[in-house]
C-alpha cells in the first residue's frame, strides 16, 4: 500500500471502526443467531428450528400478507397521487407555490408519534371527527380499530397522507428537468394536454418514478411506526401486523432473538427481490 493510501485509510479508520462494530458485526451476529434456539438460556445450536418454523408459522404468513396488501395497494395509489400532485404543483396557474409545496411536504416533517396520536383521535369510534362526519352525511359509523379491514384501510390512508407529498416533491424535481421545447414541439403538432402527459411526461419521468417506487417498497417492507402507534401494535388481533412489527414482537416482546433474526434476514431478502423486479420492470426498453 502506498503511503498516501495509508494516510487516507488512517483518516477513515474511526468511521470504519464504528461501521464495523455497529453495522457489520450485528449483521453477521444476527445471521449466526438465526441458527440458535433462543427460547431459554443457555442458547443452543438448532439450525432447523427458526428457519423451519418460518414456513409453517401462520403469524409470519399473516404479517407477510399484510405487508404485501399494503405494498400492492398503498404504493401504486400513493405514486399515482404523488404524480398528479406534482403536475398540479408544477402548473403555471398555481399561486403561492412555495407555500403549497411546503404544505404537502410538511407531513414528513411531523413526528410519527404526534401524527399517530392525532390520527387515533380523529378515527376514534365514539368521539372521533371522522365518524361524526360519516354519520353526519348519513353513512354508518366505522369501528376503525376493531374491524380488521377498516384498520388496514386506516393504515393505508395514514401512510399515504404522510408520504404522498414527499414523493410529489421528488417527482416535481423530475418534471422540472423535462425540457420545455419537447412540450412546445408537441403543442405545435396539436397534441392535446392529456396525450402530452401520457406520451411525454410519464415516459420521461420513468426513472424518477422508479426511484420513488423502490424507496416506497423498501419503506413499506420496514413499515413499523404506523401500525405500532395507530392501530395499537398491529391490532385488532394482528390484522395490521406488518413484517416489521412481527420482527419486533419476536425480538422484544417474546424475546426470541433467534427467530427474530431469521425473520429479519427474510425481510431483507424479500426487499432485495422486490426491488430487482422493480428495476427489471422499469428497465429501458431496447
Amino acid at each position: 500500500m502506498r503511503a498516501r493510501n495509508r494516510i487516507a485509510y488512517g483518516f477513515l479508520a474511526p468511521y470504519l471502526l464504528i461501521f464495523a462494530v455497529f453495522w457489520i458485526w450485528p449483521i453477521i451476529y444476527s445471521f449466526y443467531l438465526s441458527f440458535l434456539s433462543t427460547r431459554a438460556v443457555p442458547w443452543t445450536w438448532a439450525p432447523h428450528m427458526n428457519w423451519g418454523r418460518l414456513w409453517i408459522d401462520p403469524a409470519f404468513w399473516n404479517a407477510l400478507r399484510n405487508t404485501l396488501v399494503i405494498l400492492f395497494i398503498q404504493v401504486p395509489v400513493m405514486i399515482a397521487l404523488a404524480t398528479l400532485l406534482a403536475v398540479l404543483l408544477n402548473s403555471q396557474l398555481l399561486k403561492a407555490r412555495g407555500i403549497m409545496r411546503f404544505a404537502f411536504f410538511a407531513p414528513v416533517v411531523v413526528g410519527e408519534v404526534a401524527y399517530a396520536a392525532v390520527f387515533r383521535l380523529m378515527f376514534n369510534a365514539d368521539f372521533g371527527v371522522i365518524n361524526k362526519i360519516l354519520t353526519g352525511v348519513g353513512l354508518p359509523a366505522v369501528s376503525w380499530f376493531s374491524n380488521p379491514t377498516a384498520a388496514m384501510a386506516l393504515i393505508i390512508m395514514a401512510v399515504t397522507w404522510r408520504w404522498v407529498g414527499y414523493n410529489a416533491i421528488i417527482i416535481l424535481a423530475g418534471l422540472q428537468s423535462i425540457p420545455d421545447d419537447v412540450y412546445e414541439a408537441a403543442t405545435l403538432d396539436k397534441v392535446s394536454k392529456t396525450k402530452q402527459f401520457f406520451f411525454i411526461t410519464l415516459p420521461l419521468l420513468r426513472p424518477i418514478i422508479l426511484v420513488c417506487v423502490v424507496l416506497s417498497v423498501i419503506g413499506t417492507m420496514q413499515l413499523f411506526a404506523e401500525p405500532f402507534l395507530i392501530t395499537n401494535r398491529g391490532g385488532p388481533g394482528g390484522a395490521t401486523e406488518t413484517l416489521g412489527l412481527f420482527l419486533y414482537r419476536q425480538g422484544f416482546t417474546v424475546l426470541n432473538f433467534g427467530y427474530a433474526s431469521a425473520v429479519a434476514y427474510t425481510i431483507a431478502g424479500l426487499a432485495i427481490i422486490i426491488s430487482l423486479i422493480n428495476f427489471w420492470l422499469g428497465r429501458d426498453p431496447k
Partner: protein, 426 residues
C-alpha cells in the same frame, strides 16, 4: 452468665443491625405504571419516616413501556435500568427464564421463607424459581363488575338479579334502551384478551395448565368465555375500548359497567368527575349458570430489584416496607385501591368500612370475599406468544372467520404448540 451475655450481645447486634439499616441513604428509582406508580409514591412518606435519608423517585412509564424497556435493558446487560421495577405476575416468568442475572435474588437481602409465607401461593409460584425469589408479591386482582347505579336504576335493573352472562346481556339491552348513548360495557378487544381470560379463569380455564407444561386454551371454560364475548359483541352491549378509552367513557358517562380486577377501584375513584361520586357500585361477575363460580383474577403485580441497582439494601428496605408491612399495603389500598396480597393486611379495619364514593357500599368486603375462590392461572414464559395468538383468534372469531369458538381456539392451540413446543392437553 456467659449464655446471658451472649444473648445480650446478640440482641445488641440485632438492634445495631436494624438501626444501621435505618441509617441507609441513597437514591432509588422505580419504574411503574398508572395508579400503581401513584400508590408507590403514596407510601414514600411513611417510608421516609423510617428511612429519612433514602429518596425515592417513581417514573410512571405506562404498563407496556415498563415491560419493553425492562426486557431491552436486561438484554443490554442491565444498562439504564432503575433500582426497582414493577412486573406483572403473568408476564414475569420470561424474565427469570431469559435473564436470571438481571435481578437480585431477594433471599440474599432478607426475604426469608417466613416472610414469603405471608403471601398466598398463587402469587408466589410465578416469582420463585427453585430456591431463588426474584420478586415480592404486591397486589392481586380479584375480578368484579363495577357499575353505575343510576343507569341500572333507570332501566329498573337490580344488579343482584344478574347471575349469569345471559342475564347480563339482557340487562345490557334494557340499560341501553333506558339510557340513550350509554353502552353496557367496554372491552379491549383490539389489544388484549382480558375478557376471555377473566371469564376463562372464572370457569377454571387458562392458556396453560397450572404447572405450565401443557396448552389448555381450547378447553371448555375458555371456549365458553370466547363464545360469551362474541354474544355480547353481537348483542351490541359490548364495544371495543382500550384502557384510556374506557376512562374517557367513564368520565363522559357513556358506559354502565366495567369488569376488571379489584385494582380498578382506585382508577375509577381517582379519575371520574366529582358529580359521579356516590353513583358507582360493585357486584360479583356473572357466571355461565346460576350456581356457577363467580370469582377470577386479572392482573396483579410484584416488585423486583435489578442487579444494576447501586444500592440493593436500600431498595430492599423500600420493597419490604411497601409490600411486607400492613402499613405500606393498606396505604396503597386506601389511596388507590390496590388489593393487598399480604394476607395480614386483609384484616385491617379499613377493609370493612362502607365507602362514601361507592354509595355507602363496603366494596372491599365484596371484592376480597372472592379471593378464596380464585383458581390460579399460570402465565409461563410463553404468555406473550400465547396472548398474541389468542388475540388474533378472538378478532377473527368475532368477525366471523371461524365457525365456532371451539374451532378458533383449536387453531390457536395448535399455533401455540408450534411456537412453544408444548403439547396440547387432552
Amino acid at each position: 452468665m456467659r449464655v446471658k451475655l451472649g444473648c445480650a450481645t446478640l440482641a445488641l447486634c440485632v438492634a445495631m443491625g436494624a438501626s444501621g439499616a435505618n441509617a441507609q441513604s441513597g437514591e432509588l428509582t422505580i419504574w411503574s405504571w398508572n395508579i400503581a406508580a401513584s400508590s408507590l409514591e403514596a407510601v414514600v412518606e411513611g417510608f421516609n419516616a423510617q428511612y429519612p435519608d433514602i429518596s425515592v423517585r417513581v417514573d410512571d412509564l405506562g404498563n407496556q413501556q415498563v415491560f419493553d424497556r425492562l426486557l431491552a435493558g436486561c438484554a443490554a446487560g442491565g444498562a439504564g435500568l432503575p433500582d426497582i421495577v414493577s412486573i406483572e405476575n403473568h408476564e414475569a416468568e420470561i424474565f427469570w427464564a431469559q435473564f436470571p442475572d438481571c435481578f437480585v435474588n431477594l433471599r440474599d437481602l432478607g426475604y426469608t421463607e417466613e416472610l414469603a409465607s405471608e403471601f398466598p401461593d398463587f402469587k408466589r409460584t410465578e416469582l420463585e424459581v427453585g430456591d431463588a425469589a426474584y420478586a415480592m408479591p404486591w397486589d392481586s386482582g380479584p375480578v368484579v363488575m363495577f357499575y353505575r347505579r343510576d343507569f341500572y336504576e333507570n332501566a329498573g335493573v337490580d344488579p343482584a338479579s344478574i347471575q349469569t352472562w345471559d342475564d347480563f346481556i339482557e340487562a345490557g339491552i334494557a340499560i341501553a334502551e333506558a339510557n340513550p348513548g350509554v353502552t353496557m360495557t367496554r372491552a379491549d378487544l383490539n389489544g388484549d384478551t382480558e375478557w376471555v381470560r377473566m371469564i376463562g379463569n372464572e370457569q377454571g380455564c387458562g392458556f396453560f395448565s397450572d404447572d405450565g407444561s401443557a396448552i389448555t386454551v381450547n378447553q371448555p371454560g375458555c371456549v365458553a368465555a370466547l363464545e360469551k364475548v362474541k354474544e355480547m359483541v353481537d348483542a351490541g352491549i359490548m364495544t371495543a375500548a382500550d384502557w384510556d378509552e374506557k376512562i374517557q367513557a367513564n368520565n363522559a358517562g357513556t358506559v354502565a359497567s366495567q369488569m376488571y380486577g379489584g385494582w380498578y377501584e382506585g382508577t375509577i375513584r381517582s379519575t371520574v368527575p366529582e358529580d359521579q361520586h356516590g353513583l358507582w357500585g360493585v357486584y360479583l361477575m356473572p357466571s355461565l349458570d346460576a350456581n356457577g363460580p363467580r370469582a377470577a383474577n386479572l392482573g396483579g403485580s410484584s416488585l423486583a430489584i435489578t442487579s444494576a441497582s447501586q444500592n440493593p439494601e436500600a431498595a430492599w428496605a423500600y420493597v419490604n416496607y411497601t409490600l411486607g408491612t400492613n402499613e405500606g399495603q393498606v396505604t396503597m389500598l386506601r389511596e388507590y385501591g390496590l388489593v393487598p396480597s399480604l394476607l395480614s393486611a386483609l384484616d385491617d379495619p379499613y377493609v370493612s368500612e362502607p365507602l362514601e364514593f361507592w354509595g355507602g357500599q363496603a366494596v372491599w368486603v365484596d371484592i376480597l370475599g372472592t379471593l378464596d375462590d380464585v383458581v390460579p392461572s399460570r402465565g409461563t414464559p410463553f404468555f406473550g406468544d400465547a396472548d398474541a395468538i389468542v388475540q388474533a383468534a378472538q378478532t377473527q372469531y368475532i368477525n366471523g372467520a371461524f365457525e365456532s369458538a371451539q374451532a378458533a381456539l383449536d387453531d390457536a392451540a395448535s399455533q401455540i404448540a408450534l411456537v412453544t413446543g408444548l403439547p396440547i392437553a387432552e
